[in-house]
């Protein structure tokens, strides 16, 4: 009896090490995945792992609004989760201001600073409708959106110095001042959508009477790898699902203390009948909310009673769009891009293999000819 119990705890312990990242008092252990054939602690040494892992993938969308979403992917490796995150940040294309032709700028903001500020303004335009512009190409209606900005600051004639009211007119340049100028067939193509800055109230520059800004800005398609202004996300991140494993029941006043060690909503104290007595018992209700602050590990009274872990293949993604693309589209695009990158590499590999074959056959032919001679 005693022996079997020990065996089961050992198995439980191994299970935890295989599937969980263990958060300890002053370090994190069991970090790397062991889901590989012939790994020392592998559960299935001779199975088709690819098949196995594929069959347990779960995707669950937890929270969603148009530009913000939180979703879970369960059953994938960290490398794939990280590839998706990296692609969302750096490889999903959008449109952003890339070239600024400044005709007049007498404001205090220097031309280059002004151009940089303009570049960072998110521009609402469907990137799928446009082509990438190579540096050698000329701007066309297929690869460029043109904006004009013209604003001059003046003294407000209706207000004298001692009166209340705005002293100046047009002294704040907001993003709404960027006026889209359709080129070619763009007016026809985008008659149902509005092209322009996502937010109208981004402050670009401030002026004083007599100062003036007049410029033309060209938007081009690009991706975040080249410059962060093309990144479609404000944040795209993932974390591992926290899990609090209770090794034994925590009761009485300790239960309250235990609950206070976690973020609110993680642990609840319940009244339960234990041995005919009504007792307070701590229960983990929602470990997703846990911040994994490790506060509980600082207290002697909980030593050995609790283990903080994170589930190694349960990724909680958070994708927050800048407002150009819907959050779901960003995720979908990233998946699409990942598989198209694979296809592209397969093609490259194929070309290499064919080259190799050709050189080998020609060499063989040469050898054969030499033999004949």
């Amino acid at each position: 009896m005693k022996k079997s119990k020990r065996a089961s705890t050992a198995r439980d312990h191994l299970e935890v090490l295989q599937t969980r990242v263990v958060v300890e008092r002053d370090n994190v252990s069991s970090i790397s995945s062991s889901d590989f054939p012939f790994h020392t602690s592998n559960r299935y040494p001779n199975h088709d792992l690819a098949e196995k892992s594929r069959n347990k993938i779960i995707v669950a969308i937890e929270k969603k609004s148009q530009y913000d979403m939180e979703f879970d992917i369960i059953g994938i490796d960290a490398s794939i989760a990280n590839a998706l995150r990296r692609i969302m940040i750096a490889e999903v294309p959008t449109m952003a201001i890339e070239k600024v032709f400044i005709y007049d700028n007498t404001s205090i903001v220097q031309d280059e600073v002004l151009a940089h500020r303009l570049g960072l303004i998110p521009i609402k335009a469907d990137p799928d409708e446009f082509d990438f512009k190579q540096s050698t190409e000329h701007p066309t209606d297929q690869n460029t959106i043109v904006f004009k900005l013209k604003q001059e600051c003046k003294r407000n004639p209706k207000t004298s110095v001692d009166e209340k009211g705005p002293l100046y007119i047009n002294h704040n340049v907001y993003s709404i001042a960027l006026i889209w100028e359709p080129k070619g067939d763009q007016a026809e193509r985008f008659k149902d959508v509005t092209i322009g800055p996502v937010h109208d109230d981004i402050l670009i520059a401030q002026m004083r009477p007599g100062q003036k800004i007049e410029l033309e800005a060209h938007c081009e398609k690009g991706c975040g790898k080249e410059h962060a202004k093309w990144s479609p996300v404000a944040t795209a991140s993932y974390r591992l699902m926290p899990e609090i494993i209770l090794k034994e029941e925590i009761t009485g006043d300790l239960a309250d203390k235990f609950a206070s060690c976690f973020a609110s909503g993680v642990v609840e104290v319940e009244n339960k009948m234990v041995d005919g007595e009504l007792k307070k018992v701590a229960k983990v209700v929602n470990s997703r909310l846990d911040t994994v602050s490790r506060e509980v590990l600082r207290h002697k009274e909980f030593e050995g009673k609790v283990q903080l872990t994170r589930i190694r293949d349960h990724f909680i993604f958070r994708v927050e769009s800048t407002g150009i693309l819907d959050s779901e589209k960003i995720v979908f695009d990233s998946l699409q891009i990942l598989s198209s990158k694979c296809t592209m590499l397969l093609k490259a590999l194929d070309i290499k293999l064919k080259e190799k074959e050709e050189t080998e056959t020609s060499q063989n032919n040469e050898n054969a000819m030499e033999l004949d001679a």
């Binding site: 347990k56 590839a83 998946l335 296809t343 590999l349």
Partner: protein, 155 residues
Amino acid sequence: MNAPDRFDVFYLPPGSQKMKITPDTKVQNAATFEIFREDHTMGNVIRYKLLQEPQVIFAGYKVPHPLEHNVIIRVQTTNDTKPEAMVAKALNDLITEVGYLRTKFMEDLGRARALVIPREQKSMVEQEPQMVQPTREPVNTSVGGTGGVGVDMDF
């Protein structure tokens, strides 16, 4: 002045090769794959997929220099196969897995979408965009079971 072009990060000049395969001169069934204009995104994912194959003895990747935009993957296999074949298999497996992910994502999106208030309706009542919490069956994440996840899904 001598700054490299910004598009160098991803732009492969026309006519140049995407990949270079160098067989190892001393070890049998081993080769290094240099992939140009790729980074950790593909390197790590290919390494992972290679390690899933029992025929792969060694697989590793590195990005040799942060200013050079290429990644080197080294593979050694058993005698049954060739490194090229294993990399091809890894890439094919990856395409399938991402395909599964995409289907799963679309499926769940359909469910989540039904719970989000349509845009027009929202503007009518002039509400701040709300995070809608869709209800769903709780995913069993308890310790136990064969996999890392309590729920097994059938396809």
